[in-house]
């Protein structure tokens, strides 16, 4: 059983929702990334999505692209991201880490070399935004053989046939992008999300995390009422951008804590 699987199982047993923050590795700089990851856990994160910066992040909005550009300007690379995960693991063996990025840096490193190095560094899952299931059967199998969960996206536009393909290729959880658009966009269609999540969960047999467009405690809570997990990315990057250098870690921790409290109220109401 993967660490991601047991994390969702434990949360379900507790009647709680997974809080899954996203930060870009190397933003604002490499030295801050590991302290930020620990701060996310202190604030109540259950799983960390760690962005691997890429020069052409086509599926991301301007906020995450800026984070990528800042990280690349300071020399971040896939190899260095793996080294950061290994450093994080020295103090935290429990919190699952999912790498999120684009295919080309992984292909440049080599798929086998990447899977081996990621597993050795303590990575638990990998989400490659521009690898739909039909283009990466070999990659997904390689990840699974290395003990890593291949995580896939589903969208409001996805067909029932896509649910089946993703159920076949993926493991860990499904990342449902809650709106048509790029990361950081506005306007979540709550009714749409509420209608789709149970269908998807039933079809894929995996927990469903929802992201794209969640910006505050209120939207996190509304999503948390229907989903198994809530992903927050662009809003954290904005917090990083807007904080003085010496306060970045504290501010991000406090922001996440606010989301955590909102999510935990869902469970308390139910109890």
């Amino acid at each position: 059983m993967s660490k991601i699987h047991t994390t969702f199982a434990r949360l379900q047993g507790e009647g709680r929702k997974a809080l899954i923050p996203f930060i870009t590795a190397g933003d604002p700089d490499a030295d801050t990334t590991v302290p930020l990851m620990h701060a996310l856990v202190e604030g109540g994160a259950d799983i960390i999505e760690l962005g691997v910066p890429f020069s052409d992040p086509m599926a991301d909005g301007p906020t995450i692209q800026r984070a990528s550009e800042r990280a690349l300007a300071k020399g971040m690379s896939l190899r260095k991201v793996l080294a950061l995960v290994a450093e994080f693991r020295r103090r935290d063996a429990a919190t699952p880490v999912v790498l999120m990025g684009y295919a080309n840096p992984i292909e440049a490193m080599g798929i086998d070399a990447f899977a081996g190095a990621a597993a050795a560094a303590g990575v638990d899952g990998v989400l490659v935004v521009d690898y739909p299931p039909q283009e990466c059967a070999g990659f997904a199998a390689t990840l699974k053989a290395a003990g890593l969960d291949p995580i896939f996206l589903l969208a409001p536009t996805s067909s029932a046939q896509r649910f089946a393909e993703v159920a076949q290729a993926g493991s860990g959880y499904i990342y449902y992008v809650s709106l048509k658009g790029v990361t950081g966009s506005a306007n979540i269609d709550m009714d749409e999300v509420a209608r789709r999540i149970p269908q998807i969960r039933a079809a894929v047999g995996m927990p469903v995390g929802v992201g794209f467009g969640i910006r505050d405690a209120a939207s996190a809570r509304r999503i948390g009422e229907v989903a198994d997990g809530v992903v927050i990315g662009s809003r954290i990057i904005e917090e990083i951008e807007n904080s003085p250098t010496d306060q970045v870690v504290v501010r991000v921790r406090d922001f996440i804590k606010g989301i955590r409290d909102a999510l935990d109220q869902i469970g308390e109401q139910a109890r």
């Binding site: 052409d56 086509m58 080309n104 935004v129 521009d130 690898y131 048509k180 658009g181 790029v182």
Partner: protein, 403 residues
């Protein structure tokens, strides 16, 4: 004539040219691409659609474009005879419009009233804006902020034609960033928007569809060459950035195995300088903008900035079918530097009274290199993909002249 035993089978049903091509996009776009593939397949089978496409090419674009024997230039070079396929004489001054008409007609069929495009130098943007005006569609063109500054005349042209031009401030503020931004628009507005990609790149079915719309170039050549030169050419030569004019003239010739196909990439300051845009000559396979192909990238897999005097060739990738034609050795790919292209530009102006686009000047420069090495009985066919009026400022600046 020697023909291949089996028809050329690429792309396969999943959009691959050997290991290249494919559909490397975020899940959000998958249904849109499925819808596009089905709509395009239906149009290909629809005689009325194809007849309208031909009518538009004839009466709006002015096709067929002529083939011209560059007799004087060939004589001066002292070898093979050079023939030019005159895509520069098309409406809007380049081959780009062929594809824009095809895709805009498809958008209309699919009931999408809004078209978007990316553009580098502005040629594809102008062609898209032109066709959008012709069909009464809303048009938004994404253009790198750097390019907007460098190509003010083309920006104004697009605005005259009713398009909205959006300067893209992210990344290197050039073509690849404009492409990223157009993709983002498409993801967000996919219900009413058709993305007119200008070259044979992007996710399937774009590389196939753009090739098919541009293949009119090569089909005409196959009919025209026997009349003009008494036979088919020994070499077909075309410049390659993304590679749409080259695929358009190469594709009908693929089964003519005796015809050598040469793609000419932008070698910028030289392949050794690191300042160039020659993805096939100096790149490695990877994934960008929806397809697997040769890319200019660093050791970490980050895409690197390219350089060419010609904005239309200044792109770090290349259409996946070219990647396949290179690996399978059906076509060969060479590099021409900025200096060599500029020389060919001036020579064609002075010796033939034709001002070529700087992109096309790369193909001309390779022909000028090759011709003297061959006998006078050999025939070179060069795709003169566009006219050079848009390049006046660049060439004048290089010559130290200010208007």
């Amino acid at each position: 004539m020697q023909m291949a035993d089996t028809p050329y089978p690429f792309p396969d049903a999943s959009g691959h040219f050997g290991p290249y091509g494919g559909v490397f996009v975020s899940e959000t776009l998958i249904p849109a691409l499925d819808e596009l593939r089905a709509a395009y397949a239906a149009c290909q089978r629809d005689p009325a659609f194809m007849a309208e496409f031909e009518y538009e090419l004839k009466h709006y674009v002015g096709r067929p474009s002529p083939i011209y024997h560059a007799r004087r230039w060939s004589e001066l070079l002292g070898g093979a005879q050079i023939y030019l396929k005159r895509e520069d004489l098309n409406h809007t001054g380049a081959h780009k419009v062929n594809n824009c008409i095809g895709q805009a007609m498809l958008a209309r069929k699919m009931g999408k009233p809004r078209v978007i495009a990316e553009t580098g130098a502005g040629q594809h943007g102008v062609a898209t804006a032109t066709v959008a005006a012709r069909y009464g569609m809303e048009c938004v063109v994404y253009m790198g902020a750097e390019d907007v500054k460098r190509q003010a005349a083309n920006v104004y042209r697009m605005k005259l034609l009713g398009a909205t031009v959006v300067p893209v401030e992210s990344g290197s503020k050039t073509l690849k960033d404009a492409l990223n931004e157009a993709m983002r628009d498409w993801v967000t507005n996919v219900h009413n928007t058709f993305y007119i990609i200008g070259t044979v790149a992007g996710p399937h079915p774009y590389p196939m569809m753009v090739r098919d719309f541009q293949a009119v170039i090569g089909k005409e050549c196959i009919e025209q060459m026997p009349e003009m030169a008494g036979r088919q050419p020994d070499y077909v030569i075309a410049c390659v950035g993304g590679g749409s004019n080259a695929m358009g003239i190469f594709h009908p010739y693929l089964e003519h195995r005796e015809v050598r196909l040469v793609g000419v990439e932008a070698a910028g300051d030289g392949l050794d300088s690191g300042r160039h845009a020659a993805s096939l000559s100096a790149g490695r396979p990877g994934v960008l903008h929806g397809n697997r192909t040769y890319l200019l990238q660093d050791e970490d897999g980050q895409i690197i900035e390219t350089h060419s005097v010609s904005a239309g060739l200044d792109y770090p990738g290349v259409g996946p079918e070219h990647a396949w034609l290179k690996d399978s050795a059906r076509a060969e790919y060479v590099g021409i530097t900025d200096a060599e292209a500029l020389q060919a530009f001036h020579d064609l102006c002075r010796f033939e009274g034709i001002i070529p686009a700087l992109e096309s000047s790369h193909a001309l420069a390779y022909a000028a290199k090759l011709a003297p090495q061959l006998g006078r009985d050999k025939v070179l066919l060069v795709n003169l993909s566009g006219r050079g009026d848009k390049d006046m400022h660049t060439v004048a600046e290089r010559s130290g002249i200010r208007f």
